[in-house]
């Protein structure tokens, strides 16, 4: 499977609806009025007033609260579950397990309950064992405490570094390898190393990162007869619907999923979870709506992570800075089930820099831990941590500036993509313009002069990057309606996961229709009333949805112009929209207000249906990035203060500079967490259980951990070939090189290379002390 394919969260290679008006008819925008401006969100009021209703805010009459009992062992077989004490407790309405005869309402789901939801083999802490619904969440928890479970504890392995040791207990029959190692090769590696003047080799490790969106995973489920409605905190209502319908043996049309607002996902909410199905079954058996949201520690255990990675990188370069060979060998783990532990882990080695001789080998292993889910640019930040530190080391070894070294190795074609050219590549510009805006050379020289306090050192660091996807693609259907008073509504299935999707789409429609984006009514993320969309993720929402929005808006506009042409008796080609009016652009000045169009008033509305067209054949669409930072390190304590961060990004056309900046800053913040503070800790070699069970021991950055001084340099090469809005994704690339840039800055400040995340004061002060002792 190619790295490209692994990280695409949406359908590819399937025949899908294409735009009926082939999108090549739409010329790229030249001048824009709305698109590209800074603009607050169209739903800002809802989000700052507290009126935005998140799935966890939903309160329905008679609603019960669900809770899930989870396996407290790393590996166990459930021998029996006794729910008798729990069922009779006050306020408890239902208790489900795989060891009790299902209520009549659930008999059809007997095998789902016994074999899937409550599978007696628990391969990690946090596997589902039983569930309850009660009139308060407190009482639901009381019920769980009263359930007696007899576990047969089994041997386990909780760290992938131990998974292949002789005698390591197998997570599945057949051992702890998830298939054979994946190997990629091009060129002649041995010759590449022979040609090199400098060959370096280093081992790197990145720790397991947790998504930890602020809103826990969960939903509210309600039945009306054989129809199920779910308010789910999700990145994609359609994938949830499809999975729930499949699990429950229902027609998809009988399941309605709503997710207008949702409190963050970062890849962990791309589909339904067992909690979704359990909420539906608890609602079914109690004939009441059920709210089931996970506790924070449940989300740490069971709904995904960025897998830890162990990477060995060997690299060769010539004196002039030309890369000649890269060899990358890595192991990683997606946890207890096949979950893409090594997904795209080698992508940057294969594709970011020009290098004719490359070999990568990645092995995905099982351990007894919660399965991975896609997390913001799967594989990439891990790979970047290794590659970008190595590239810096090579640059130093040949005596070159790190930016200059990278500029020497910028490819024009996608080496991993069978040599296909990019629609555009802004990598060189990201490096060059980013360095200029950052004041790279000056800051580097200044840092090397030192500070007034001899125990405090400054350093600057940078890293480049790209994202294996980010061009988006079909399917997407968007409907725009314009009513007789000129009012506009936009209907799309896509979720706005906080990235500003609604705002950006309103701006795209407003660009074509000359209306205020804030006036556009947006219906979205509801499978009953809005159109099919894939989940929002993978930096593909804007490049996927915005061309469909533009196509729909243009269709509406064309109809308006044709109506006006008939009314004014002129050629439609001479007309255009201007602020709610149709006006002539040539010939005698004629105009009519949209609301005065007779035909529109008679019909009541016009609509345009936009479909996302296909991506260009034989070309690759990717976003590129270079990030730069400056740090101050206290040598006596190992504390690192990040003083500023700059992101230079080629994500094609910037549609809203405000939300774009926000995405970049957010990506950097998450990257700072990845590189500096975050680490899931399991009790390796002892119980295997999760030790970092909350945000005290799993430290995501606070306001004090990120610099106020963050800035962006948009590099927009005008990607007319990518799609009709010229936009590529930004969410993923914004977090890819951040951690490596920090590591490079810390090295610049201290001369110490930290090759394992996170760079905590603990790790750094120990490394500094080790250097002092000469070890």
């Amino acid at each position: 499977m190619s790295a490209d394919k692994e990280v695409r969260y949406w359908l590819e290679g399937t025949e899908l609806l294409e735009t009926p008006q082939p999108d090549q008819d739409l010329e790229p925008w030249t001048e824009t009025r709305v698109v590209g401006q800074r603009r607050p969100r169209v739903d800002a009021y809802e989000r700052v007033s507290g009126t935005a209703r998140y799935p966890s805010d939903v309160v329905l009459p008679g609603m019960l609260y669900g809770a899930i009992l989870r396996c407290p062992h790393s590996h166990a077989r459930v021998r029996s579950v006794d729910i008798s004490a729990a069922t009779g407790m006050p306020g408890v309405h239902a208790v489900l397990s795989g060891f009790s005869e299902p209520d009549r309402a659930l008999r059809a789901h007997r095998s789902l309950l016994r074999e899937q939801l409550f599978n007696p083999v628990c391969r990690h802490e946090g596997e589902v064992v039983a569930a309850a619904a009660a009139d308060t969440p407190y009482r639901a928890r009381d019920a769980l405490r009263a359930i007696r479970v007899d576990y047969e504890e089994l041997e386990f392995v909780s760290d992938e570094r131990d998974a292949l040791e002789p005698g390591a207990p197998p997570v599945h029959e057949g051992g702890n390898r998830v298939g054979d190692p994946q190997v990629y090769e091009r060129g002649d590696l041995a010759r590449g190393f022979e040609e090199a003047d400098v060959v370096l080799e280093e081992e790197y490790r990145t720790e397991c990162q947790l998504h930890t969106p602020l809103e826990p995973h969960g939903c509210v489920a309600e039945w009306e007869g054989d129809r199920l409605t779910l308010w789910e905190s999700t990145q994609g209502v359609y994938p949830v619907r499809q999975q729930v319908a499949q699990a429950l043996g229902m027609r998809q049309s009988r399941v309605r999923v709503l997710g207008e607002y949702m409190g963050g996902g970062f890849g962990s909410k791309l589909g339904a979870g067992k909690y979704t199905i359990l909420a539906a079954l608890l609602a079914k058996v109690t004939a009441r709506p059920v709210k089931l949201f996970l506790t924070r520690e449940e989300t740490f255990l069971a709904v995904g992570n960025r897998p830890p990675a162990n990477m060995r990188l060997r690299a060769g370069a010539k004196r002039d800075g030309t890369l000649t060979a890269l060899e990358f060998v890595a192991t990683a783990t997606g946890g207890a089930y096949p979950a893409g532990g090594t997904s795209a882990l080698d992508y940057l080695v294969r594709n970011l820099y020009l290098c004719p001789n490359v070999r990568t080998e990645t092995a995905d292993l099982y351990i007894n831990a919660g399965p991975a889910r896609a997390m913001r640019a799967p594989g990439h930040p891990q790979c970047s941590w290794a590659l970008e530190q190595m590239v810096d080391a090579l640059a130093e070894a040949v005596g070159m500036d790190p930016v200059e070294f990278r500029l020497r190795n910028v490819p024009e074609v996608s080496q991993a993509g069978r040599g296909r050219p990019y629609t555009t590549t802004g990598l060189a510009e990201c490096l060059g313009r980013g360095a200029e805006a950052f004041g790279w050379a000056e800051a580097r020289a200044r840092a090397e002069e030192g500070t007034a306090d001899p125990t405090v050192r400054r350093g600057v660091g940078m890293a480049g990057g790209m994202w294996a996807a980010g061009g988006g693609g079909p399917p997407s259907t968007v409907i725009i309606k314009l009513f007789s008073d000129g009012a506009v509504s936009l209907n799309m299935g896509a979720s706005d996961i906080g990235t500003g999707t609604k705002t950006v789409m309103a701006m795209v429609a407003a660009e074509e229709l000359w209306v205020d984006p804030g006036e556009i009514q947006i219906e979205h993320a509801d499978t009953a009333t809005t159109h099919f969309a894939s989940a929002s993720g993978g930096s593909k929402t804007v490049p996927t949805e915005s061309p469909a929005v533009r196509a729909a808006a243009v269709l509406v506009k064309q109809q308006l112009l044709e109506m006006a042409a008939r009314q004014l008796d002129v050629d439609a080609a001479t007309l255009d929209l201007r602020e709610g009016r149709v006006v002539s652009t040539s010939g005698p000045p004629r105009e009519v207000a949209v609301s005065e169009l007779t035909e529109l008033r008679r019909r009541g509305f016009v609509e345009g249906i936009g479909f996302r067209g296909p991506n260009p054949r034989d070309k690759e669409v990717h976003p590129f990035v270079a990030q730069f930072c400056e740090v101050e390190v206290d040598l006596s304590t190992g504390e690192v203060e990040i003083l500023r961060f700059l992101g230079a990004h080629d994500s094609g056309r910037v549609l809203n500079r405000t939300t774009y900046d926000n995405q970049v800053f957010g990506g950097m913040t998450m990257g700072i967490g990845f590189g500096s503070t975050e680490k899931r800790v399991l009790d390796r070699g002892q119980s295997g259980l999760l030790l970092s069970r909350g945000w005290h021991d799993y430290r995501i950055p606070t306001a004090m951990d990120v610099p106020a001084n963050m800035s962006t340099v948009p590099v927009d090469p005008g990607d007319a070939e990518a799609n009709t809005t010229g936009a590529k994704g930004i969410g993923e690339p914004a977090t890819i090189p951040t951690a490596a840039a920090v590591a490079n800055a810390v090295y610049h400040a201290t001369g110490v290379r930290i090759t394992e995340t996170p760079i905590t004061p603990a790790r750094l002060v120990e490394a500094l002390a080790g250097r002092e002792r000469g070890v």
Partner: protein, 212 residues
Amino acid sequence: MPASNPDDPRGARGVSRRGFLSSMGVGAVSVALPAPLTAGPLAGADLIEAGDLTPVALNVNERVYRVLVEPRWSLLYTLREELGLTAAKEGCGRGECGACTVLMDGVPRYSCLTLATEAEGSSVTTLEGIMEGEELGPTQQAFAEEDAFQCGYCTPGQIVAAEGLLRVNPHPSPEEIRAGMSGNLCRCGAYAHIFRAVERAAAVGAGRGGAS
């Protein structure tokens, strides 16, 4: 879904059982619970038995709500699930994220680490309470204009924390803003915009003249 009829905040203390029961007619929320009522209002050293429901009068956003609560219920749970005031959010339930931040007597604290019974006698302000009718308050306005959020889930807590900061320190320095906002996690990473929003809110005088 308000639990019961709001009335004069001066009635917050010394609720009689008779007074409480007379307001139950509209209280669809708590009546379904089968546990017995305790004999009298919560005062002095009366012990409330585990699992019992006890009446408390909560002064929230300058209205008094009389509700039945179990001793273990958090203020957050009571606000959200019993009073229908859902702006304050649950992210962790144990004081590790700040999404549940409310003002108690004008001071920010975590409503998930506050028992509902403990809030009796204090004035509680949630995000809903810093609105001016349907208009945004100046701190909210600043958050909207600076795009100081992404998914928006932590935002009610962030804004209430900012409001609390500005009430005691109307002109915070950039460092004071960072420290003052350090009790509210934002996983989307909108901190840089949050700092600007707090600066903007301070510039327009948010926090001054605020209630309590």
